[in-house]
């Protein structure tokens, strides 16, 4: 790893802190379905299990670089500095939400924090992220775009078309294929040609003659290393790379799809609920990236037990405050609905 990408103790602790904040936020969203039924409408998708991939990737960014993920979008703005209060208020559909209650969980946007917006339709935002990289190239801003999407999205036409164009135009973008192993409810081995052949999904990069690498997505340092290289390449004007971060989504795809007034909450993970594979779930649960990184930092003395506890308590308090803020925030006035249709 080039020296500039060496991770200092402080940086490692920062990474752990962000991972804990994401985890606490996602667990609070999940609990809200039980503790505050009806407060979250529609469909919410959580990033627990993705913390190492998100933080490892974004730990390589310069301060004006952009992050553009899919609808499973809570984790990224947490790292970018979006206030959790505004995020939770948006998930709760409140007036003080990031998007004033117009988007909800799937459509967080915070351009002021380098998070231009998200699409709820699988794969489509890969093209938008590629367009943001075109802006960076044309306007010579020096920005790199971090485009996150799942294993399911890597089968969309938008993926193939966008990566091809990014490669032809040598756009400053890093494609992070977050292989959390389940496309909604379907295991990736059932629908991915590379997987069927026993190959990593990063093999898709070969079709575009760009670098493709698969890393342990439960290890933020490994992700940092791979994404650093890809970001350096993008910054040097050499074009895109594909990094497959392989990890495991620890929650189900989303809350159960019900019709009001039937309540909804997060069901058991698909591995157990659909495939009856308790062993698989237990094996990956044992590789929980947050737990793993915590014990590694303690073992390498980057972090003391007391400091780890302090970080966790602080994150819990921050998220608790965000939930209280969101619950206290008023619902939007109905007639607001006609705003923002046109600029």
């Amino acid at each position: 790893m080039p020296k500039k990408h060496q991770l200092s103790k402080d940086r490692l602790v920062w990474m752990f802190t962000q991972m804990v904040r994401i985890r606490e936020f996602e667990e609070a969203v999940k609990r809200a379905f039980i503790e505050h039924p009806g407060v979250i409408r529609g469909h919410a998708h959580l990033g627990d299990g993705a913390e190492a991939s998100i933080v490892g990737s974004l730990s390589t960014r310069n301060k004006t670089d952009l992050a553009m993920p899919s609808y499973r979008c809570h984790g990224y703005p947490i790292v970018l500095g979006t206030p959790l209060r505004k995020m939770m208020a948006e998930v709760f559909g409140r007036k003080d939400g990031l998007c004033k209650g117009f988007g909800g969980s799937m459509h967080l946007a915070d351009p002021a924090h380098h998070f231009p917006g998200t699409s709820g339709i699988i794969g489509q935002s890969i093209a938008h992220a590629t367009g943001a990289a075109l802006t960076a190239q044309v306007k010579k801003t020096g920005q790199v775009v971090y485009c996150f999407f799942g294993d399911g999205a890597s089968k969309q036409g938008a993926f193939f078309e966008s990566v091809n164009m990014a490669a032809v135009w040598k756009l400053p973008i890093v494609y992070v294929l977050e292989n959390n192993q389940y496309q909604a409810y379907t295991h990736f081995s059932l629908e991915d040609a590379n997987a069927v052949a026993g190959d990593p999904l990063s093999k898709k990069a070969a079709a575009f003659s760009i670098p493709g690498v698969t890393v342990d997505g439960t290890d933020p340092v490994a992700v940092h290393k791979a994404v650093s290289k890809a970001a350096d390449r993008a910054r040097a004007g050499k074009g895109p790379s594909l990094v497959e971060t392989k990890f495991y989504r620890l929650s189900a795809h989303g809350n159960v799809i019900t019709v009001p007034p039937l309540p909804t909450q997060f069901p058991e993970h698909e591995a157990v609920a659909v495939y009856g594979n308790k062993k698989e779930f237990a094996q990956w649960k044992a590789k929980d990236p947050v737990v793993k990184f915590r014990s590694r930092l303690i073992k390498t003395r980057a972090l003391t037990e007391a400091n780890a506890k302090r970080i966790e308590d602080a994150a819990r308090a921050e998220v608790k405050d965000a939930v209280e803020f969101a619950l206290a925030s008023p619902l939007p006035a109905p007639e607001e609905a006609v705003n923002y249709v046109y600029a």
């Binding site: 998007c99 917006g117 093209a127 938008h128 044309v138 036409g157 600029a343």
Partner: protein, 326 residues
């Protein structure tokens, strides 16, 4: 000052002028800027004028992402049906992102495409697909019918902060007309009374404006005064101007190259029914394409698509308040 110009040249003039005016405007699409001899490439350089592969989803989606982050892309899509390959981006991405973000982002994007090519292009390249776009909040749709409007609407589309689908009629490509020199902007959402009249209103779209004007000329010779209204923008639709004309004449024929139920005419008929019913002295009449795909062979094609004669007959029927076959 104005000069005579072809419709297609007027479109290009607007693109060039706007690209000169604002360096954030970029222009790309398939089969363009392929060699260094390309005049647009020479003028604006390879950053701003680009060739793309046949990848509509990426072309439009990249335009959206570029627009969200500070550029004003014009995507050359050639034929409107090619957009159907990427309709998720057109209908469910471009117009939604601003709204879903609570007004935080804007998407100043122009999707340029020709439509309604009735010259033997058969079922998949001759269609009018604007109806499916004009009902999507957040999306604007314009259909110029004259060289002057072609220029002015393109300039307005590029300057607008919203996604605009700019549909130019292939059948008008070579038509000539007076076009103002220099900066000329036709505001979006404003209809134009192309010919004033008192007996009946003809609302027509795109190529059909030309047919309606010819029909009105013929009717004038028979002592019938037809007013021709061109909405120019289908979204937002200038209901006010259309309704004002109908209130004045009390009669209306709606002419549209699209099939009846996927026509702009059907939408306009609804607005007239709601806002001008008590002023109507005869039922609304729609002259649209027949409910058939556009066929290849010339007599078949002519039979399906509206023409001057059908407009004249419809006007006479409405004036006689008689029911005739559509």
């Amino acid at each position: 000052m104005a000069r005579e110009m072809m419709y297609m040249d007027a479109i290009n003039a607007a693109i060039i002028e706007e690209m000169q005016r604002d360096e954030n405007v970029i222009f790309y699409g398939q089969n363009m800027a392929m060699t260094e001899r390309d005049p647009m490439l020479k003028k604006f350089g390879k950053d701003r004028v680009r060739l793309t592969p046949i990848s509509e989803t990426a072309e439009i989606g990249i335009g959206i992402g570029a627009a969200m982050t500070g550029l004003r892309p014009i995507v050359e899509l050639w034929m409107s049906e090619f957009m159907l390959v990427a309709f998720a981006q057109v209908l469910n991405e471009a117009p939604r992102l601003r709204y879903m973000s609570g007004g935080q982002v804007k998407v100043p994007l122009v999707l340029k495409a020709g439509f309604g090519f009735c010259a033997g292009w058969a079922g998949q390249h001759s269609n009018c697909i604007y109806h499916s776009m004009m009902g999507i909040p957040g999306l604007k749709v314009v259909v110029p019918s004259t060289p002057a409007d072609a220029k002015g609407l393109m300039a307005a589309a590029i300057r607008d902060d919203n996604p605009v689908v700019y549909l130019h009629s292939y059948m008008l490509t070579l038509d000539k007309g007076q076009v103002p020199d220099g900066e000329y902007v036709v505001p979006l959402g404003v209809a134009d009374v192309k010919r004033a009249g008192t007996d009946i209103t003809i609302v027509a779209v795109g190529w059909m404006v030309k047919k309606a004007m010819a029909a009105a000329e013929r009717l004038a010779q028979e002592g019938i005064s037809a007013e021709v209204v061109d909405p120019r923008s289908l979204a937002p639709l200038d209901v006010k101007t259309i309704v004002a004309s109908v209130k004045k004449t009390g009669r209306v024929v709606l002419v549209d190259q699209a099939p009846r139920h996927s026509s702009a005419a059907a939408v306009i008929a609804g607005e007239i029914a709601e806002h001008a019913f008590e002023h109507l002295r005869a039922p609304v009449k729609m002259v649209t394409a027949l409910d058939a795909s556009v066929p290849y062979s010339e007599p078949l094609e002519n039979f399906v698509v509206p023409n001057e004669e059908k407009i004249v007959q419809a006007v006479k029927a409405v004036l006689a308040n008689q029911e005739v076959a559509a």
